[in-house]
């Protein structure tokens, strides 16, 4: 602690060694306005982040709103055992993994490809325009995107189905069809976020030494080979780090997206941990059981994120946290 405090206007830092307590009190008094400044933020974290962390103990209770956390009966791991021995667990896990892996395979490479293409554009104004356009969907809410999807694809009035009919094809049931639900989510995700995802890759590409391209040109490499042999290897560490971090969040699928696109006909393939917790906890009032489900997801997520970060640090050196 002592090493951190610096010479400061009006401070007594130069005085002889003092006891730790005195030192702390002195710092508190000296920086009282600074503490006042951070107080609302610290209070926010304590109340809205740490109180709920303590609240997860109800996963080990039969929580009753009337008895509260202190009065409810403890049941140990009963809720977890009930959940793992339940058929729902398998379905939730399968759906979560399917949605996540699809996005990993189809969504993850697209921003990289898109930034390679953007990087090759010579006309700066055209490039700016394209960038502005592809970034934009990122700012739209999932309600808007789900809404537009429904407007375009609905069976009764969607323009896409009208087009299919006038082309002589049969109507296709996009919205309430189990077969294409995961793909539809992936396509929505690509449309919304692929452009936004280019920002970080473009920044990495901007840091590539131009001399490497000159050298590649001398060796007779065309533009595609330059991208393959110079640009891609140069941003490899960024790609690897982002990929690993993405793996750390493999249990997290977009809550709002699934929640909005879900309907009775597709619930079998659409239900993920988050929507399940919402349904059982908020709608049916099974607070303890759904907290246990949420806690399971959080613990797995925590382990994955820590592991992913360790791995990312090894590859990217700088690390993330």
């Amino acid at each position: 602690m002592a090493a951190q405090s610096e010479l400061y206007v009006g401070s007594l830092a130069k005085t002889a060694p003092q006891s730790r307590w005195k030192h702390v009190m002195h710092g508190l008094r000296r920086d009282k306005f600074l503490y006042l400044l951070i107080a609302p933020g610290v209070l926010f974290f304590l109340i809205f982040k740490y109180v709920p962390m303590w609240g997860v103990v109800i996963a080990f209770q039969d929580y009753s709103p009337y008895l509260g956390v202190t009065g409810s009966q403890w049941v140990g791991f009963d809720h977890f055992i009930r959940f793992f021995s339940n058929q729902d667990f398998y379905l939730l896990f399968r759906n979560t993994m399917a949605i996540s892996l699809l996005s990993l395979v189809f969504f993850f490479p697209l921003p990289i490809l898109l930034s390679l293409l953007l990087n090759e554009l010579r006309n700066a104004i055209y490039k700016k325009w394209i960038q502005s356009i592809v970034y934009m969907p990122h700012f739209l809410s999932w309600v808007i995107i789900a809404g537009i999807t429904f407007l375009l694809l609905s069976q009764s009035s969607g323009i896409v189905n009208k087009m299919l009919v006038s082309l002589g094809a049969a109507k296709y049931d996009f919205l309430t069809n189990q077969n294409n639900f995961w793909i539809m989510l992936t396509v929505q995700n690509v449309w919304k976020e692929a452009g936004w995802g280019t920002i970080i890759f473009l920044a990495a590409i901007a840091g590539v030494d131009p001399q490497q391209y000159e050298a590649a040109k001398m060796d007779g490499a065309n533009r595609i080979r330059q991208a393959w042999h110079v640009t891609l290897p140069a941003i490899r560490s960024v790609i690897v780090v982002l990929f690993i971090l993405r793996l750390g969040h493999i249990m997290d699928v977009g809550f709002e997206q699934v929640f909005l696109m879900m309907n009775g006909a597709v619930s079998n393939v659409a239900d993920v941990f988050e929507t399940y917790v919402y349904r059982l906890g908020i709608q049916q009032g099974q607070f303890s059981f759904s907290t246990a489900v949420g806690l399971f997801k959080s613990v797995v997520g925590f382990i994955l994120v820590i592991a992913a970060n360790k791995l990312a640090k090894r590859f990217g050196e700088e690390g993330v946290y």
Binding site: L37, P65, V143
Partner: protein, 293 residues
């Protein structure tokens, strides 16, 4: 050096491919925009095949904005986006600034506490019970207080403030200013680009508030825009028979489709309006932020 034929083919192909991607991105929005201004009769007659309406009309907008549900929802979302953003910015910046001053005792501990919140989430139910126990159900503050700031933004802003030289505040303090004065009169004005970037992110998040309102707001009269929109756009198209919103619209002569599209445009408009002004700032803000993957 002269460009080779291969180079020119590549460039042309690239321009075309990116152009197509831009069109794919833009087209759904364009279609929604155009239909929302289309005369209902024309929409029915052309069965929705409209790339450019023959007659522009504001009927759908006039009708939507005359409904009290839409008016109050827009007001609520507007309140969230302005008041919420202002509060969030000040609290995030104040915390980040304090934590960026190396002499502050306990900053390591506070940083650790913040970091932990990024790694572990208590899930959905405990925060819900907290908001309920605080008596915030059906209060607009349930949409602001629980999301006032986030660990990511605090850490990002702190790294921004780390670059502000300590000498600057020292000289202000010699002139008799307090740390709070330094923060509001020197640090915040110096940080306008960062505030613009984070302000945009906060404002968009508040304007798009949806799920926390699903959780905390049961009273339909207090719904923010996204919830009203969800009811208009989604419930009615999957569930046979349709929701109250659809029935309400069916009573009018305006086809529900043009109304729905007008609602999408209204909910998108504020974002599209601030977007061009803030775009130059946000790339900087995201550069730090996008690492979170």
């Amino acid at each position: 050096m002269k460009r080779s034929i291969g180079d020119r083919i590549f460039d042309t192909a690239n321009i075309i491919v990116l152009g197509i991607i831009a069109i794919i991105t833009l087209f759904p929005l364009y279609y929604v925009f155009v239909v929302s201004f289309t005369d209902p009769a024309e929409y029915i007659q052309k069965q929705g095949y409209i790339l450019f309406p023959e007659k522009w009309t504001l009927d759908s907008y006039k009708y939507l904005l005359s409904t009290s549900a839409f008016q109050s929802a827009t007001m609520i979302s507007g309140f969230l986006a302005t008041v919420g953003t202002a509060l969030s910015l000040v609290i995030t910046a104040a915390l980040a600034y304090g934590l960026s001053r190396k002499r502050l005792q306990g900053r390591r501990l506070i940083m650790l506490l913040i970091l932990i919140t990024l790694l572990f989430s208590p899930g959905l139910i405990p925060p819900y019970l907290l908001v309920r126990d605080l008596g915030l159900i059906n209060s607009i503050w349930s949409l602001i207080l629980p999301v006032l700031t986030s660990g990511w933004y605090v850490i990002l802003m702190k790294s921004f403030f780390d670059s502000i030289p300590v000498e600057l505040e020292e000289s202000a303090i010699i002139d008799g200013s307090t740390d709070i004065g330094v923060f509001f009169r020197i640090v915040l004005p110096l940080s306008l680009p960062a505030l613009a970037a984070f302000g945009l992110f906060y404002a968009v998040a508040y304007w798009n508030t949806f799920f926390s309102a699903v959780l905390y707001i049961n009273d339909h009269a207090k719904w923010p825009l996204q919830l009203v929109l969800r009811n208009m756009l989604i419930d009615s198209s999957t569930q046979a028979g349709g929701s109250a919103a659809a029935e309400m619209m069916a009573e009018q002569n305006i086809p529900t489709e043009t109304l729905k599209m007008a609602a999408v445009v209204i909910a998108t408009l504020p974002i599209l309006c601030v977007y061009p002004f803030l775009q130059k700032h946000f790339a900087k803000g995201v550069m730090l932020g996008s690492v979170k993957g």
